[in-house]
């Protein structure tokens, strides 16, 4: 088993209504120098979160104690740019288990699924509802039900379903990952390799 099992998550959420949040913002390159997967949460959104003298930027959402929770809600095209899995690690290490957006960049989405962070893609309209609900009341809770593939704004009952392929869904629910699967295929892969021209 590679990571925590994910079934139903009920939590408040942190809103980040900015579009095209790229992985260089999620974790700047200068923090990629570790050889172990540790402590990346401290540098999540580093340059938006801290001034160059390491004092917190008060107006940034993660520095506002009113907003907390295990769900990060981002604007359209979240996680674009660099393939660095460190971005997903930073999101996880900070304490988020789910990222909600109206659109995800491919590699970031895949990286999240591989480490046990659930990317939930909702319609632009629903995303807007979430942002408005949190703005009106930061204590607003969201419920993500992975087995049912639904996301619900608990205050109003507004609900939407989201897509995830069945293989990945079962992995997340059971805490399995792709390596568990692939290592069982070794003989089949070796045979395949023999027939490759190069």
């Amino acid at each position: 088993m590679a990571y925590d099992k994910f079934q139903i998550l009920k939590s408040t959420a942190v809103p980040l209504p900015i579009e095209n949040v790229d992985t260089d913002q999620i974790i700047p390159a200068r923090f990629l120098k570790a050889t172990e997967r540790k402590g990346f949460g401290d540098n999540l959104f580093r340059d938006w979160r801290y001034n160059s003298d390491n004092t917190p930027k008060e107006q940034f959402i993660l520095n506002n104690p009113i907003y907390k929770g295990k769900i990060l809600v981002g604007g359209k095209n979240f996680g674009s740019g660099s393939s660095r899995e460190h971005a997903a690690w930073a999101v996880y290490d900070y304490g988020f288990r789910c990222v909600v957006s109206s659109f995800f960049a491919d590699i970031f989405r895949g990286n999240c699924l591989n480490i046990g962070v659930l990317p939930v893609q909702v319609s632009a309209g629903f995303l807007d509802k979430i942002f408005k609900a949190i703005e009106a009341n930061p204590a607003t809770e969201l419920e993500i039900d992975l087995p049912k593939q639904t996301i619900t704004l608990l205050a109003t009952g507004a609900q939407e379903s989201f897509e995830i392929n069945d293989y990945k869904k079962q992995n997340m629910i059971n805490g399995f990952d792709d390596i568990d699967y692939l290592t069982k295929m070794k003989a089949e892969i070796q045979e395949f390799a023999e027939n490759r021209p190069f």
């Binding site: 172990e36 899995e85 390596i179 295929m185």
Partner: protein
């Protein structure tokens, strides 16, 4: 059956199809570097797995390496530690390793093609999103995360849902002073940074047929900047000419056999794409970006668009221009610049330095410009010297550095200071990409050269 080039290559690598899930895709060649591989090796060890086919993985050090004094020990202890991890892991598992100072060392996407690691019809992955570069040879190549690096090490496979297919045709001819970089920035400005998300893009049409292999690499390299999984161009005589006799290219009978296969790698005439776009090459002018993502680009003679004329949120757009210190409607030409960077896997090949030399020859570097000229590899560096370009650079007041990723991601000391403006031939202009607070204008080597000699954003067509 009429199929696309992409389908032919992808389908021939599927080991197993998972119902309602991804395909298990066999990876022919895997490139690794010091930044995204150490945790993958740790994972491998903690699961008691080993490297399944060590001869299919190739290591080079590039992301955090210094670009001066490479013969001395690396000063930054964290970078040194990553380099050491790469060297030790490669040795432990019998993986080819081109470390700092090795004559084959260079940026992973430059040394792959140089050494015939990159081949038509191959699947190639690397823990770096610009792996899409290798698609220029008719390979399926894309960037992966560290968990996937571990998958490839332990099983030579990754699990991927098959992307949708898009074809981008550029017809006609490119105008004077217009380079492959401009073609790519033009496409991204039309599609936005998410316009090709979920797609694998085939580039077709006369403009790509005419293009050199270096140019095709530049275009495929930037596919990721419009969200695409990768880009691919059908191999042709130019491709075969380029790869022949390189270190890892098949030789003799194996070459003949491979050629029979490679010649089948084209999209059938009646194949259908999920999306198809066509542009006219003569509509493209030298490009430059003005914002904080590569989609925020414009023809160099144009003004910065108004917020209401661009797609996407007004607040995000304004935040971006604020960061750059620019205003809607500003002209780009004449904007003051502090730094010029030529290099990276996007524009760090010999052809790029030839283009740069064509403008700086007989001129002088502007006093207000700090210039970093960073070859993509030692092979490129050697060619620069051999072709006499170094003499041109030196006479014009430029210094040539040693190979590496350098200011493309600023993990080493090549950082643009906060608030300073850089014209850069690299691939990303995100906030802080070239150093905290840095402001990046992406452009071609010609625009970079013109700017380097005038000190302000300059249309290269006025100097050619």
């Amino acid at each position: 059956m009429s199929t696309t080039l992409f389908d032919k290559v992808w389908d021939s690598h599927v080991v197993r199809k998972i119902k309602d899930g991804p395909d298990v895709l066999f990876i022919d060649r895997h490139l690794i570097h010091e930044v995204t591989s150490p945790v993958a090796f740790l994972g491998l060890k903690s699961r008691n797995n080993t490297v399944l086919f060590s001869e299919r993985t190739f290591a080079t050090a590039d992301h955090n390496t210094p670009t001066i004094n490479q013969h001395l020990p690396v000063e930054d202890p964290l970078s040194a530690n990553q380099l050491k991890a790469l060297e030790e892991n490669s040795a432990e598992y019998g993986i080819s390793h081109w470390g700092l100072g090795h004559q084959k060392n260079g940026i992973v996407h430059v040394v792959g093609p140089e050494n015939g690691i990159t081949l038509p019809g191959a699947t190639i992955v690397c823990g770096d999103s610009h792996t899409s570069t290798h698609g220029a040879f008719g390979a399926i190549a894309f960037g992966i995360g560290t968990s996937e690096v571990e998958m490839v090490l332990s099983s030579q496979c990754i699990m991927q849902p098959k992307p949708k297919k898009m074809r981008i045709n550029i017809t006609g001819e490119l105008g004077f002073g217009v380079t492959p970089k401009d073609v790519a920035l033009f496409i991204i400005s039309k599609l936005t940074t998410s316009g090709a998300t979920g797609y694998f893009v085939e580039y077709a049409g006369d403009v790509f047929k005419q293009m050199t292999m270096e140019g095709r690499m530049t275009v495929c390299n930037l596919s990721i900047e419009m969200g695409a999984r990768g880009g691919i161009i059908a191999p042709d005589e130019k491709t075969f000419e380029y790869i022949k006799d390189r270190l890892y290219t098949p030789k003799g009978a194996a070459w003949d056999k491979a050629m029979d296969y490679w010649k089948t790698l084209t999209t059938d005439a009646d194949a259908v794409f999920d999306k198809e776009l066509t542009f006219d090459g003569s509509d493209i002018e030298p490009m430059i970006t003005y914002g904080t993502n590569p989609g925020m680009g414009t023809g160099i003679s144009q003004n910065i668009p108004k917020a209401e004329d661009v797609e996407g949120g007004v607040a995000t757009y304004k935040k971006s221009l604020d960061y750059m210190g620019f205003a809607e409607g500003d002209t780009m030409i004449g904007k003051p610049v502090d730094y010029v960077f030529i290099g990276s896997c996007t524009n760090g090949r010999i052809e790029d330095f030839r283009a740069f030399a064509s403008i700086v020859k007989g001129r002088k570097k502007a006093d207000n410009i700090t210039a970093w000229l960073v070859p993509g590899s030692h092979v490129v560096e050697a060619a620069i010297k051999e072709e006499g370009l170094l003499d041109i650079f030196t006479a014009a007041g430029f210094v040539l550095r040693e190979p590496g990723c350098s200011a493309c991601l600023a993990m080493n000391d090549d950082k643009v200071p906060a608030g300073k403006v850089a014209v850069s031939t690299s691939n990303r202009n995100f906030e802080g990409r070239q150093g905290p607070g840095s402001r990046t204008l992406l452009a071609s080597p010609l625009v970079a050269a013109a700017t380097a000699v005038t000190g302000v954003v300059t249309d290269p067509r006025t100097l050619l």
